[in-house]
Symmetry: C2
Amino acid sequence: MSGDNKDRKNTGGRPLSRRGFLAGAGIGAGLGAAGAVGADRFLGPRDGEPAGDGDSQTVPFNGEHQSGITTAQQERMYFVALDVATDSRDELRDLLRTWTVMARRMSQGLEAEPDGSVGVDRNAVATDTGEAVGLRPARLTVTVGFGPSLFDDRFGLAAARPEELEDLPHFAGDQINEEISRGDLCIQACADDPQVAVHAARVLTKAGSGLVTVKWAQLGFGRTASTSITQGTPRNLFGFKDGTANLKNEYTNLINEHVWVHDGSWMDGGSYLCARRIRMLLENWDRQTRREQEEVFGRTKDEGAPIGREHEEDPMPFNEWHGTDGPLIPAHAHSRLASAPANDGARMLRRGYNFVGGVDEYGHLDAGLFFIAFVASPRDDFIAVQSNLSHHDNMNEFVRYESSAIFACPPGLVDDDDWWGRGLFERAT
Amino acid sequence: MSGDNKDRKNTGGRPLSRRGFLAGAGIGAGLGAAGAVGADRFLGPRDGEPAGDGDSQTVPFNGEHQSGITTAQQERMYFVALDVATDSRDELRDLLRTWTVMARRMSQGLEAEPDGSVGVDRNAVATDTGEAVGLRPARLTVTVGFGPSLFDDRFGLAAARPEELEDLPHFAGDQINEEISRGDLCIQACADDPQVAVHAARVLTKAGSGLVTVKWAQLGFGRTASTSITQGTPRNLFGFKDGTANLKNEYTNLINEHVWVHDGSWMDGGSYLCARRIRMLLENWDRQTRREQEEVFGRTKDEGAPIGREHEEDPMPFNEWHGTDGPLIPAHAHSRLASAPANDGARMLRRGYNFVGGVDEYGHLDAGLFFIAFVASPRDDFIAVQSNLSHHDNMNEFVRYESSAIFACPPGLVDDDDWWGRGLFERAT
């Protein structure tokens, strides 16, 4: 990977800090025994000390596809949907260029621009808000997407709108809050340190001050899927392992077929991001017996195995019966209805996160799953499945779909001069 | 430490899982290279592999004082304030006993009760909601406190109310939302893994179903203070190092004087928790020059050094002047007004967390600092300081105090038979 190496120093093979010039200075002082009491998010590990976690690592920014899609899923996420306030195509294009440069730097553990958090002098307003100074790169990825509304008549992009980029339909049972749905643009920032993710989205938003406004935002505190076979399957707030059957980045053929767009357009190599805020009605869920919960999922609670099987990885026995009592995996179990065989082979790359806020007027937790899926075809790989689920899923009694959004994430950045949307802006007239 | 060892197995010196009987089984399968891509939150590290972070560790539950106060501050927090719905003193007492037993187990990496997440059989409702099964202990602490309203006439506790346990006063500029303020009880769950913290508070809330209701809750995504000299000083969302002058658990004399109550009552060995949700007006802050920001804090943005000094640890030069331009540290700088010399020697143990939610009606981030301080005397160590700040602090232009709460946290658990509030319930009539 060729990166922006201006601030790089010889760090002895250790990851670069967000402030290269501070790495060797006093910022690590007082951290002597930090490793003994908690994850060392901060810089300055002693030589020879193992970093021990993903906080020290960077994810390549340039590539055929944007990072943050098949990247082994980070632990935390901050997602921001924005509306464009300017009507100037040139201002929007320049902002996307600026964002790309800044995100490229931040993903490598640098400030958004050189000396960005302190400004060129003490009397200047700084570009970088500074709260990630001293933190490790934490595998930050920043993924950008374009909503259907960006392709209205404001920016001359209407002719370039992909046919499949349209607002998701209303699904049965949806209780959508428009205030936290849709948007002209999205920024998905993922990292193993939440402060690094929040910082990245905030700095880009600040860079767009006057040009874009934040429509809604969502913090995800823990991943609920795995996008690599090297990761364990996490549990969602229902207490079940989530995403056992998810696509993994090692499944090259399936990823090519179901995640990446191949249409020869500016979206070639890109992917569609479908987002849904799914409130989980935990107080109701928590009153169900284990049997009832397992029949909702079609899997066991402890191992995450298919009902009637022992291991998480065992194939789902969709065609087996309990004598005459019905199928072993209930007809309306979530895992059956969401499966590829039940949906003409549809697959998606799920990349969702648990969230928790405060409480509602009944004292119930405002918590759940911020669902994100990346698909090559929203129609075939997402809408078909969600439509099926919306009518029949046993889980519907325990969830409430509160928001809905779709974004077209353009392909990756081919080199350090490339920027998000170049293909779109240079082709469309 | 004597713990509840019923589920313990020989784990070869490695930390116990939340499901002892799963530790040796298949749950670690598929994690082969997890260490290569991210923090390994999950169980089953290979023998000899360093854990590398605090996720694997436990904090002693029993002790002279509750854990979660001087404990080296964990990275994440979930805070829940509850109101008691029953009028029965016995039910309240029994709930506190149950909570203690459950929290003691969870702090050691166990489920809330044996086989708690799967229930005694498949047709039972489980006690433990299960989302922490397979996660490491992550230094979980659970700290419980009693609000002033618990000492009304419902439970016969009025005579036992400490004189200083009363609602915090209205401070100048406060814009308090009563819906996220006060409460009969609080649970502060801190851990290095947010899912572990959320789980603990949720399970205790579930155990109190019908007896308590959640009044408000707050997730903190990153610590903004250090409570041990072994920890680095983190940055708040203003991009500044926060809590340089905080009390550290190694300062035994100051901790004894300013954190622990010494009054011979049931609160002896306890501490008062003062909580304030401080919204930060980031969009406004981000438009200030570095000079203006530094003059608000009285410290430099990069190093966190006193203005005019080089190192974070340098003493504040409160008495130095810029020639005739005024004091080097501005008269109304936050660090001056909050300092011990400016407040008759008042000190507090700060243990706050950054938070971020969605956006408000103006598209501004609902983000800031969930401030928590532990003090021996709310009057002398907190109210006096906050009153001073509320009138004069340069920072007031950039913050909004949105909630306010105080809780009396009883002393620690002396042994495995002890429970939260035993001293209060057994003495008060």
